[in-house]
């Protein structure tokens, strides 16, 4: 995901969700109070960089693959530490390699961190690979988990891009473009991950046991994680649906919106409606093109004379408001977490 393709509302919503997850993961790790993890995570982040430089060739295809990072980190460090480590890797990439950008960082961490660490690893890899003792289970677990993680991640990219409305690609076309590419990338990632895990199992199995151990307190963890995720989802959903709800009605709606903001006053009601909208939207998702109907833009410009295209005033203002609101929310989440921590 890149800054150039994102709208403030989508970027802000993803930032809020990611900030929540980062705060949550940090707190979980602090509670474990295993300070040996601190240097291990830092060095593992650097390891991911180094590992991405080394690649291998796939026989008969001539292509080469390398490690992506999310899954192997989750296997070695556990989901919380892996998520934070991956978030730091992506932050450095955004700053030094200009990969993505600062506003898209929230999306990138969510797409590449959340899915492998909190979905693919606990729900797929651990279930299949178990204690890493059986070779074919490790390989199939890594392959399936990597593929699923990357498919979900690229679905995230598609949704964020289409909702932002900067790219002209329709939901379906972009999906058809992205998913097959990421199927290939996922297979490579699975092979690389399995190769490294199998080596570690042979050379130093206690490393992997160490990673599995902290997960024993599953019931508490899962419930609290679910609560945090629910909160993140509500923020994300409210942010996104607020933005998307400006699209279908097009010109009239945006002009009326630009004229007055009285609709914003009853916040609860607005949120309620937004959530209702979201529900309606998810139901028709498969058929819905998501394409922003901006063709009216030309007329709007002509009618309203100078200034920028009138049709975009409403969406931009609402986008800006949405972005500001979600950023504020992210800040509030951060502040809240800091409060909570000092109270520890």
């Amino acid at each position: 995901m890149a800054d150039a393709l994102i709208s403030p509302a989508v970027g802000g919503a993803a930032w809020a969700a990611t900030a929540g997850l980062v705060g949550f993961s940090s707190r979980r790790l602090r509670e474990d109070l295993d300070d040996q993890r601190v240097p291990l995570m830092g060095v593992m982040g650097a390891f991911i960089f180094a590992a991405q430089m080394i690649n291998f060739t796939i026989p008969a295809t001539g292509s080469s693959g390398h490690l992506g990072g999310g899954l192997i980190l989750a296997i070695l460090l556990g989901p919380y530490a892996a998520f934070l480590t991956l978030a730091s890797v992506l932050t450095v990439q955004a700053l030094f390699f200009a990969d993505g950008g600062l506003l898209a960082l929230g999306c990138n961490i969510f797409n590449l961190g959340f899915f492998p660490c909190f979905i693919a690893y606990p729900l797929i890899y651990r279930k299949i690979a178990g204690d890493h003792q059986i070779r074919w289970r490790v390989i199939s677990g890594a392959l399936i988990a990597a593929v699923v993680g990357l498919q979900l991640g690229s679905l995230g990219v598609v949704l964020e891009t289409v909702l932002s409305g900067i790219s002209e690609l329709s939901f379906r076309a972009f999906l058809l473009l992205m998913q097959p590419i990421h199927l290939a990338i996922g297979l490579m990632e699975g092979i690389a991950t399995a190769a490294v895990v199998l080596f570690v199992v042979k050379a130093r199995p206690e490393v992997l046991e160490g990673a599995v151990r902290p997960v024993v307190r599953e019931p508490v963890t899962l419930r609290r994680f679910a609560a945090a995720f629910l909160a993140a989802a509500v923020i994300l959903g409210a942010g996104l649906s607020w933005f998307t709800s400006t699209h279908p009605d097009g010109l009239e709606w945006s002009i009326s919106k630009a004229a007055g903001i009285e609709e914003l006053r009853p916040v609860e009601e607005n949120l309620h409606r937004s959530l209702g909208d979201l529900q309606g939207k998810t139901a028709i998702l498969p058929d819905y093109g998501f394409k922003v109907e901006d063709h009216q833009g030309a007329d709007g410009t002509a009618e309203n004379g100078p200034g920028w295209p009138a049709v975009d005033v409403g969406t931009s203002v609402s986008g800006l408001l949405g972005g500001a609101l979600t950023l504020l929310l992210a800040g509030a989440v951060g502040l809240f977490l800091r409060r909570g921590r000092t109270g520890h």
Binding site: P8, L40, G45, A173, G307
Partner: protein, 270 residues
């Protein structure tokens, strides 16, 4: 191979640039981080057909380049080289959106080309701003700023650690790649078997390193948090910098300066 090394030394160079002493470098990192975030948000908040109103935003990166004594050629080259994702996705716009929305002389320009141009400008501005932010602030100071602005401390420490060992491990990886490439003939040995044990060894060495670091830190009184001996202060200069630029960004967001100037010029010509 040489490309990898180039990339690697490039990161070091960006950090070298941050080790200067100009008025911009001396500003509190928080002020620069916040201002840059507002800048990026303002740039991406425009409608997808916007080109002219985006252009004045070049002012901010240009100012930082100039006042921060940064080599513009280097930054521009880096922007051109990186992240083809936005460009690849954006190139579909001219194909998909062929409604004519603009005529310049006899030339008709479709909406797709306009929005593609807009994507390229956004890309240059946002990527440039992020890179310049690192070059005028430095990574360590940025981590500190993030922590002060509410990012969990654990995360800030993680970033600092990652950055410190990034160079060490990349150097190790480069050595391994070189060693392997010297022993590979006809592509034999580039497969996944060698790869697995190579990366596995790197991983084990990495973990041993973490263990040593942890012992060394433990001996020196590490208690899970890092203290940074760099005083931060938000003074008059910082608030001036932030308020000044944010005001400019907001004004530019609502006033299309190039169009006003253009209209003014036309008026005078008439």
């Amino acid at each position: 191979m040489s490309k990898i090394q180039q990339h690697f030394y490039d990161i070091g160079y960006l950090d070298t640039l941050s080790d200067q002493d100009t008025p911009v470098h001396r500003l509190d990192p928080r002020a620069k981080l916040v201002t840059t975030m507002v800048f990026i948000t303002a740039v991406v908040s425009f409608s997808k057909y916007e080109i002219s109103a985006l252009i004045p935003y070049v002012l901010y990166p240009v100012f930082l380049l100039a006042a921060g004594n940064l080599p513009p050629g280097y930054i521009l080259r880096k922007i051109l080289l990186v992240s083809p994702f936005a460009v690849l996705v954006g190139i579909f716009n001219p194909l998909l959106d062929q409604d004519i929305i603009m005529r310049v002389g006899g030339l008709s320009i479709s909406g797709g080309w306009v929005s593609f141009g807009s994507i390229l400008i956004r890309f240059t501005l946002t990527v440039g701003a992020a890179m310049i932010l690192v070059a005028v602030t430095g990574f360590n100071a940025l981590c500190l700023a993030m922590e002060k602005l509410g990012a969990p401390r654990f995360f800030a420490i993680q970033l600092l650690f990652l950055y410190r060992y990034l160079f060490v491990l990349m150097e190790e990886a480069i050595n391994m790649i070189r060693a392997r490439s010297l022993r590979v003939f006809n592509g034999k040995g580039m497969g996944v078997a060698v790869y697995g044990s190579m990366l596995g060894h790197l991983l084990l060495r990495t973990m041993d390193r973490a263990q040593r670091i942890h012992s060394a830190m433990w001996c020196r009184g590490f208690d899970g948090s890092i203290r940074i001996m760099k005083p931060l202060s938000m003074g008059r200069k910082e608030f001036g910098f932030m308020l000044g630029w944010i005001t400019i960004f907001v004004v530019l967001r609502f006033v299309n300066l190039p169009r006003l100037v253009g209209a003014g010029i036309l008026e005078i010509m008439h």
